[in-house]
């Protein structure tokens, strides 16, 4: 290809041609049933939550593996996540997203549980209550505080918000690192084990162990996936069908 550098008009033509959704097609088919369903779910407070990090590509545990690992390690689905930014705290009156009552902006160093407990005991959320509270990460990234116990977040399909504790930030960072690593690369179990060991050392996470789950996949080109169990300090590794087309396992 030869020619002069692109002018503004030519650049605009090319940019518009590369628009994946052309303006002329927007709304052409009318509002779908899905749109109406979304509207209702937003009002009900049950709009699709972001896929928790352990369910995103590269961190999907094969079902059989998850069962075995759960039995041995305390449950890979009981994962926790550090909120990226604690901005809005929503205090819920009941153990469901539809019971939303009040929200406030709190600094990241504030304790959302204490704030909502004060609100609940004052009666601002209904009848005064001193029920135990649990903090989960909402789809918006904010923190939701509900009356309930530790398993409530899992039941609501939300990650549990950790109260600031030594090492918890490092665990959150490890989860992100592993997601990025195994989400973008297809590696075998042996290589994955070395990567995790290295990431644990780099994150200063001592006392953690790596549990490799034997392969249950019958597909020839499977890639390692990882799951975290912070409570028992275990990183589980298993094989799953490769997440990206074209990736070939490296080593392992």
């Amino acid at each position: 290809m030869t020619g002069s550098p692109l002018g503004d008009d030519d650049l605009m033509v090319r940019l518009r041609a590369a628009n994946p959704i052309q303006p002329s097609t927007v709304g052409a088919a009318g509002r779908s049933m899905r749109g109406e369903a979304l509207f209702k779910s937003v009002l009900a407070g049950t709009a699709v939550a972001p896929r928790p990090w352990w369910r995103r590509r590269g961190l999907l545990l094969p079902a059989a593996g998850a069962v075995v690992l759960a039995a041995g390690g305390g449950g890979y689905v009981a994962a926790v996540q550090q909120p990226s930014q604690a901005i809005t705290v929503s205090c819920f009156a009941g153990p469901s997203l539809s019971s939303y009552q009040a929200a406030a902006q709190l600094g990241s160093s504030s304790d959302p549980l204490a704030g909502c407990a004060a609100l609940a005991s004052s009666g601002a959320l209904g009848a005064p209550s001193n029920s135990p509270l649990v903090a989960c990460i909402l789809p918006s990234g904010g923190i939701g505080v509900f009356p309930g116990d530790d398993v409530l977040c899992t039941r609501l399909d939300l990650p549990r918000a950790l109260s600031p504790a030594p090492g918890s930030q490092a665990v959150g960072a490890l989860a992100l690192t592993l997601e990025n690593t195994f989400g973008s690369r297809c590696v075998g179990l042996a290589v994955a084990e070395r990567i995790v060991a290295s990431d644990l050392a780099l994150g200063g996470l001592t006392g953690w162990r790596v549990v490799v789950h034997p392969s249950t996949s019958t597909q020839p080109a499977s890639c390692a996936v990882a799951g975290l169990v912070p409570d028992t300090k275990v990183v589980g590794l298993a094989l799953a069908p490769r997440p990206l087309a074209g990736g070939q396992p490296v080593g392992g």
Partner: protein, 193 residues
Amino acid sequence: MSTRAPRDDIARFRAAFDGHYDAVLAYVMRRAADPDDAEEVLSTTFAIAWRRIDRLPPEPFTLTWLYRVAWRTLANQERGNARRQMLARRLALRARSSESDSTDQEALVHEGLARLSPKEREVLRLDAWEELSHAEAAAVLGCSPNAFAIRLHRARQSLRSELGRLGATGPDAPTPSRAKRSKPRSSSAKEER
């Protein structure tokens, strides 16, 4: 702490949702890595709009506010997906190399965009894809229209450089067929809207 007055809020939210669902859906689909991500960002955007209904601006400012929320949500999502997207993009570019010339040209533009900073990328997309005026695009990005115009100028220069590196020059280079359907408006014409 604040409590809600649901009835009026529902009516306001219904109006915003009905009026802008299609545009926000298109905005998100143009930028998300895959349909799952798009759905996630779309629902999060409207969930935030509902939760902050007291801050939802009136028309005609609602759409740019929703774009802004969607943009921030996408930015959070992209941070975690950056490496995966880079690999997926390269694979897609390689796979497209054997396809038609116009697709190849579009892939080059996408690759060029991907090499820009997120803000430069967004400036160009708001201008060319959402076809917003400078004032509207500035509202999405939280800057002044003048600042947007400067950013747009710089972003165009950056994209031009990247496309040059990728071997795309003009006007001798083949023009994508779809581009012939829509004639670009000049920036000054946009400002008049």
